[in-house]
Symmetry: C2
Subunit: 134 residues, 2 copies
DNA sequence: ATTACTGTATTAGCTACTTAATACAGTATA
DNA sequence: TATACTGTATTAAGTAGCTAATACAGTAAT
């Protein structure tokens, strides 16, 4: 597992760690029960303080995505498939809710909002295999 | 024009001012060219420092939604209808883009994302006439 | 020029957040 | 128990963002 941190993006390091690990788990690139890099190991790789990594791990545990075992290590949580699907749906819904509120407030018709989403979805879906630097 | 500020929401005052005025302009509840409350007037109503209001106004001018005239006052910008529609579309697109990226990353199919958006749209659209306190 | 409004630049204090240094605590193995 | 790993609680420093106090600047009418 390799994480990349952009120190100039303005996005806090611990959030970047959270987002990347969450995505790897949700996309199935981290097996259930698999052990992740230790706090100090990942901290060294990212050239960051161990506590920063620990903070990210702590928040991921709150989300139910990992299990921390003091003295042992960190493991990808075992998620039932329906639970996993539910979590994914919730992540997306949180964002779509804002979009829906905005569309209603601006008086943009439902069909138009739907078309915009479909267009954007296809745009990014076609880039899945390539690197996106933005 | 009446604005309401929630001092406990965690959202900065100047952002709340921006969002509410932007929404009033976009929804057509502020006529083009109409004069808005002066900096000090609005600051008094909101019980806030005039500079906080001035900051909100400055950012609204950058968006092209208002015109500031020193010594005279603040006026809702005259927007051509197509420009207005374009601005509205951009506001929504910025949010929908994040949703699309998330959906693709999580492997959620386009149809499902579309259904979620439609459901949420209807949910908030049906509340348009009532007060929402959350 | 005076008055009475407009908006604004500068500065400073406050707060919340992020990161890091240090010392501590749990587990497994020999 | 000793060792060598695990993660963590506490504390503090640094930073960025928000708000406000003050003094300044433009406009219009008298």
């Amino acid at each position: 597992m390799l994480l990349e941190i952009d120190h100039h993006s303005g996005v806090p390091i611990y959030r970047q760690v959270i987002e990347q690990i969450r995505q790897q788990i949700m996309a199935g690139r981290l097996s259930e029960g698999e052990q992740l890099m230790s706090v100090r190991e990942l901290a060294a790789q990212l050239k960051v303080n161990p506590m920063t990594v620990s903070k990210a791990y702590a928040l991921l545990e709150v989300e139910g995505l990992v299990e921390r075992r003091r003295g042992v290590g960190l493991f990808a949580a075992r998620l039932r498939k329906d639970k996993k699907a539910h979590t994914k749906a919730r992540l997306l819904e949180d964002i779509l809710r804002k979009a829906a509120v905005t569309a209603v407030q601006l008086g943009i018709p439902e069909e138009k909002a739907g078309e915009m989403l479909a267009r954007l979805y296809r745009k990014y879906n076609s880039r899945t295999r390539s690197h996106s630097n933005e």
